[in-house]
Amino acid sequence: MKQLVTSLYNQAGTSYKKRVQGIGTYGILLAFIVICVALALSTPRFLTVSNLTIIVTQVSINALLAFGVTFVIITGGIDLSLGSLVAVTGVVAAMFAHPDTFPLIVPLVFALGAGLLMGGFNGLVITKSKVPPFIVTLGTMTIGRGLALILSKGRPISNLSDSFNFIGGGKILGIPFPIIILLIVFVACSLLLRKTIWGRYMYAVGGNEQAARASGIPVEKIKMLVYMLSGTLAGLAGLVLTARITTGQPNAGQGFELDAIAAAIIGGTSTSGGSGSMTGTLIGALLIGVISNGLDLLNVTSYYQQVVMGVIIIGAVILDGLNRKAA
């Protein structure tokens, strides 16, 4: 049985193995470095400690979502509900984060719990009804947005406690707290994906679901797990966003799912499932953040920014592909 799983994993995850050896991520890393060098040469403001700190802080929310969706995409699924989940969980957190009402643990647990529940709902519907994840999460995307509006009565929830706002704006030893969260989550997600049997099963499910099922991998459980992970991380992103802007907003997070999916795909996660890595996703998220920051520093007007961003994203992925072929 164990042998069968290992051989299946070898077969399904050939690109994963490459990734572990670090060949696949080189291409996107190269593109990332090229863009950073270009920006550093164009403006002296880019390569400063304070600017780099700001970039990573700004990237943290998208990266948290991207880690979650990487798990999902590796199993061959997709999660379009992320942006709405950020709004719901942010609103839930804000409702319990007013000063001198509840201890800090309450908004944290409720927001993460709301994310976990909604993610679990996604997983349950997807595994039980066999409706494609695209449709199910499209549904929960609308449901989530509606819930956020219902809970907040359509208005932002402000006046949050300082201890809560620390999550988004505080610093420990000069390092912004969102960056610390980002690093911890990155390490945890990488370990889960690379070092545990659950991670291997995820690749196997995405690589070839039938074969995975035949070899006794609990496919349904794995799918539940990835959507629950994705939902919980969206809850964490919702907490960071709400604390950063010090208000819970029902219309927050619109389109965040697309940025997160983009980060994962730029980072080399295959949309057909079976391959991907957290390191790649992190670089993908950083790449998007660096481009956006750099274009602001260079004062590129908003009309052009969108075009430039699109071109660079496509270019980066092409470069990655060429590099991989060469390797």
């Binding site: 600017n51 066999k130 409706v131 449709i135 509606g146 208000t247 920051n293 908003s302 920014q305």
Partner: protein, 311 residues
């Protein structure tokens, strides 16, 4: 099975959502006058305030309302107006999504002999009456305040709303008109924050990196973005040196003005817009004389007068 269940899920959810969208009764009957209301977006706090006031005044006047949310889609708004016409409502209040694209809705209502009142923003086709404020003026007020505070000299940054929307275009126009009168007031940079607090905050963080203390003032097209810029400046320890002015006077912004963290906002009177819309509709229905254009004035809110605006 797979397809069937997907399809029925879709059907169910659409049915569920459209039903939730409607408040009030489905049929226009009885002797109470019925007014159909379609609002730009119930996800926008200001619009919700206008809508709430419409609800309140309608209840007082004994008018039955059918309120729907166009969710920023002009196409959806036209369909909603078509359904109002089919239901035989007595009057329509529309908060248009777009200047041009929402115009067919006005034409259709007028053709059906149903009076239509535009609230908050305009359409190219002239409705029975318009109740709202002139967005160009709001930006003039804001930018003028900045110019006077800086003594007509300094570097300004402008954070735009969603590019191409009526409010963004008009607020930019108003700001630029004032800038023209002050040649020593320089527009250092401008960029869209898409009406969003988090986006504006990131934008401001990046600008602080590139311009730092060169910036003297920030003008944001709405309070959400003004609050985001203010947060970034506060975090960077620059707020004391840089003016931040925005538009709308949402509760958060009023609170910030009171605390002195936001320098000024421009009050757009949601209540007046809502109540005047209903009043105008009733006047038309009762065949009383009415004004075809009711302009509700903007007011500058600073620390001096903020107490009047805080509830």
């Amino acid at each position: 099975m797979n397809r069937l269940s997907a399809f029925s899920f879709f059907l169910l959810s659409t049915f569920f959502l459209t039903n939730c969208n409607q408040s009030g009764s489905d049929t226009a009957s009885g002797d109470k006058p019925v007014i159909g209301v379609t609002m730009l977006s119930m996800q926008n706090e200001f619009i919700v305030n206008v809508s709430d006031e419409i609800d309140k005044k309608a209840e007082e006047a004994g008018v039955e309302l059918i309120t729907v949310d166009a969710e920023r889609s002009a196409l959806k708004q036209i369909e909603q107006v078509e359904s109002f016409i089919a239901q035989g409502v007595d009057a329509i209040i529309m908060n248009p999504c777009e200047v041009e694209a929402s115009s067919p809705a006005v034409a259709k209502a007028l053709a059906a002999g149903i009076p239509i009142i535009n609230v908050n923003s305009a359409t190219a086709t002239k409705p029975s009456a318009f109740v709202g404020s002139d967005d160009v003026e709001s930006a003039r007020i804001a930018m003028k305040y900045i110019a006077e505070k800086l003594g007509g000299k300094g570097n300004v940054i402008m954070i735009h709303g969603y590019m191409g929307q009526a409010a963004q275009i008009q607020r930019e126009q108003g700001a630029r008109e004032i800038l023209k009168n002050y040649p020593d007031l320089k527009l250092l940079a401008s960029q869209t924050g898409e009406w969003d607090r988090a986006k504006a905050m990131s934008l401001m963080e990046n600008w602080i990196q590139s311009y730092g203390s060169q910036i003297n003032a920030v003008f944001a097209h709405n309070d959400e973005m003004g609050m985001g810029a203010m947060k970034a400046l506060t975090d960077a320890g620059l707020k004391d040196k840089i003016l931040v002015v925005s538009i709308d006077a949402i509760p958060d912004a009023l609170q910030a003005v009171q605390k002195g963290t936001l320098d000024a906002t421009v009050y757009q009177n949601a209540k007046q817009q809502g109540s005047q819309a209903i009043e105008t509709a009733l006047k038309i229905l009762n065949k009383q004389p009415y004004e075809q254009e009711v302009l509700i004035p903007f007011q500058l809110v600073t620390k001096q007068n903020v107490a009047e605006f805080v509830k």
